[in-house]
């Protein structure tokens, strides 16, 4: 049975979890929400980043957060290349690019999954750091410090990206390209280069998000499947491309997950994000703060 205390605890943990979900979803909010790239491989990139962090932590004993920062430039370049390939093959030719683009990213996601399995095995992997494994007590109630760290970093990451998109010149250019590519072209800007840069940013954010993923809980190669539901649920619920929406939607998802977990048990957990995603798609496809 559940009491008020338990419910309150679930809500607090849900908010912490929600901010973490925002951090793993903001990249998709840019690549899918703003750029309309059917990026089904986003969660696979995320898990790949986690394994990068795991490698640095395991081999060289680097703090996971620092490791996340170290692989960020690598992921930026990775994103630039990935978008260029996608653009040359699909967007440039138009016509039935949609079907093939989806299949392309789906295939890429599977290739990444298998490569991780071949390299690291199917077992769960985790990182070690001073703040992992300890928790703060508030009377009956415990909050793991790893959740708090992830919460703080996630909030910072999401906030930074939101500020970048709304205040800087390049950020505004990215939002402009999402609104009207043709107009941008008429003003003499190159929309493809802006989109490429934006996709680079969206992928770079995954470096840090991947670090958070492995800090919050151990990762396994097929973890990306669960995050297809979570990230797309957040981005679609947010209203494509809205950063404030992403944070709100992520917190809603986080709270919903922890409450269902407390009330019905863990075996129903995987269905929550996908169920919410389906409901949003069916009844409010423009999202909470849709454009």
């Amino acid at each position: 049975m559940f009491s008020m205390d338990l419910l309150l605890g679930a809500v607090v943990l849900g908010v912490l979890l929600g901010c973490f979900y925002a951090a793993v979803s903001v990249g998709l909010s840019v690549s899918f929400g703003l750029l309309d790239v059917p990026h089904v491989a986003h969660p696979a990139f995320l898990v790949l980043a986690s394994y990068g962090v795991f490698l640095l932590n395991d081999r060289y004993d680097i703090d996971p957060l620092v490791a996340g920062l170290l692989i960020t430039p690598l992921f930026f370049v990775f994103g630039l290349v990935a978008y260029r390939i996608y653009y040359e093959i699909f967007e440039r030719r138009g016509s039935d690019a949609a079907v093939r683009g989806i299949a392309f990213f789906f295939g890429i996601a599977f290739i990444i999954e298998v490569l991780i399995i071949l390299q690291f095995g199917v077992d769960q992997q985790s990182v070690s750091a001073s703040y992992i494994g300890k928790s703060w007590r508030f009377g009956e109630f415990r909050i793991p410090i790893r959740q708090l760290v992830a919460f703080a970093v996630a909030l910072g990451l999401t906030g930074l990206l939101a500020i970048y998109l709304s205040k800087t010149f390049m950020g505004r250019a990215i939002r402009a390209v999402a609104q009207d590519e043709e107009a941008l072209r008429l003003m003499g800007a190159n929309p493809v280069r802006i989109k490429q840069f934006a996709f680079g940013i969206a992928t770079a954010v995954l470096g840090m998000a991947g670090a958070l993923l492995i800090i919050v809980a151990p990762v396994e190669p097929t973890l990306d499947r669960a995050y297809i539901g979570r990230t797309f649920c957040v981005v679609v619920m947010a209203g494509l491309g809205s950063m404030t929406g992403t944070l709100i939607a992520a917190i809603i998802l986080g709270v919903a997950e922890t409450i269902v977990l407390t009330v019905f048990g863990a075996s129903w957990a995987p269905a929550i994000s996908f169920g919410m995603l389906l409901a949003v798609l069916a009844f409010r496809p423009q999202g909470l703060l849709g454009r």
Binding site: A98, V99, G107, I111, W268, A271, F274, G275
Partner: protein, 321 residues
């Protein structure tokens, strides 16, 4: 070649295929070819069925595993309740698959492209989670099944399953061919190329989409139903494995979806490769090869094998772009 002549050739081919499958079950003693062959036939059914929605209509269904798993578990539930014979299990799975297809169609009526694909993944996970929490069919741990005695003229259950799956191949191919050559197929192609334009010229797009979802879903579920008896075991995480979705997607797209023969070729090619790789190397490498082939074909040969073999399809594609 006239349409009538074409038809005669087609049905003669079907007859030869069925006779060959039957003869094989009577003449070959070793059971292994049937174990491997069953899987290839199963993937032909799934890929052909997938293409009805994914190829003709252009809706990329990632939820093949949902329909497959529903087929498996319909069979399991029926078998557990009443010990229903295999044919009844398959028929019931087809009906449940069609109903699920109808539900998917209604739920996703206005979704296009990636939204449809993501919705189908979501549905698969939700159904899988429901089955995991369904004690009667074994929950997450799965369920063991005891095969009933085999019926004449077969001398082993696997051989019978092989033949049954062969019949399902015939049914799937016949339906796909009928759709392709009928108003339904042309309507689906019209809505793939431009849904709005199709709707404006009087193509009943919503109705056609529902029909395609139902037929495709029913066939995939029927193709999955015998898997319970084939493995003598069923558990949610393998029955609803996402690798069915990626395999079927890869087979259909690699074969080419403009003609029903495309997914058949794709399934034979990839299915055989997979069987060989699974025996010789490992199942991981198996999936890797599948993924790489999918990506390479999507990039290099967008019309699949049939696009490479028959320039007619290439011409048509060129005209469209």
């Amino acid at each position: 070649m006239t349409a009538r002549h074409n038809s005669i050739v087609f049905w003669a081919g079907i007859a030869v295929f069925l006779v060959a499958v039957m003869a094989m079950t009577q003449l070959v003693r070793n059971e292994y070819p049937f174990f491997a062959g069953y899987v290839i036939l199963q993937f032909i059914v799934l890929s052909v069925a997938w293409s009805i929605l994914g190829g003709y209509a252009g809706y990329v269904n990632f939820g093949t595993n949902a329909f497959f798993g529903v087929g498996v578990y319909t069979a399991v539930a029926l078998f557990k309740v009443s010990g229903a014979p295999l044919v009844v299990q398959i028929a019931a799975a087809a009906v449940v698959g069609m109903l699920l297809g109808l539900a998917v169609g209604l739920l996703t009526l206005r979704m296009r492209g990636i939204f449809f694909s993501i919705a189908t993944i979501a549905l698969a996970i939700i159904i899988e989670t429901t089955v995991m929490n369904w004690r009667f069919v074994g929950g997450a741990a799965g369920i063991q099944l005891q095969r009933p005695p085999v019926t004449e003229p077969f001398d082993s259950y696997v051989k019978m399953l092989f033949f049954v799956q062969g019949v399902l191949v015939v049914i799937a191919v016949a339906i796909a061919r009928y759709i392709q050559n009928s108003r339904i197929g042309r309507g689906l192609q019209a809505l793939r190329d431009d849904e709005l334009a199709a709707e404006c010229t009087g193509v009943p797009t919503l109705k056609l989409k529902l029909v395609a979802c139902m037929i495709s879903g029913g066939l995939i579920a029927a193709g999955g139903a015998p898997a319970a008896m084939y493995l003598q075991y069923a558990d949610p995480s393998s029955a609803f494995n996402l690798s069915y979705s990626v395999s079927v997607l890869a087979m259909a797209l690699i074969g080419g979806t403009a003609h029903w023969i495309g997914p058949v070729l794709g399934a034979i090619l990839l299915g055989t490769t997979q069987q060989l790789l699974a025996v010789t190397i490992s199942s991981e490498v198996n999936v890797l090869v599948l993924g790489i082939m999918l990506v390479v074909f999507v990039v290099v040969a967008p019309k699949g094998i049939i696009g490479l073999l028959r320039p007619r399809y290439r011409l048509r594609a060129g005209g469209k772009a």
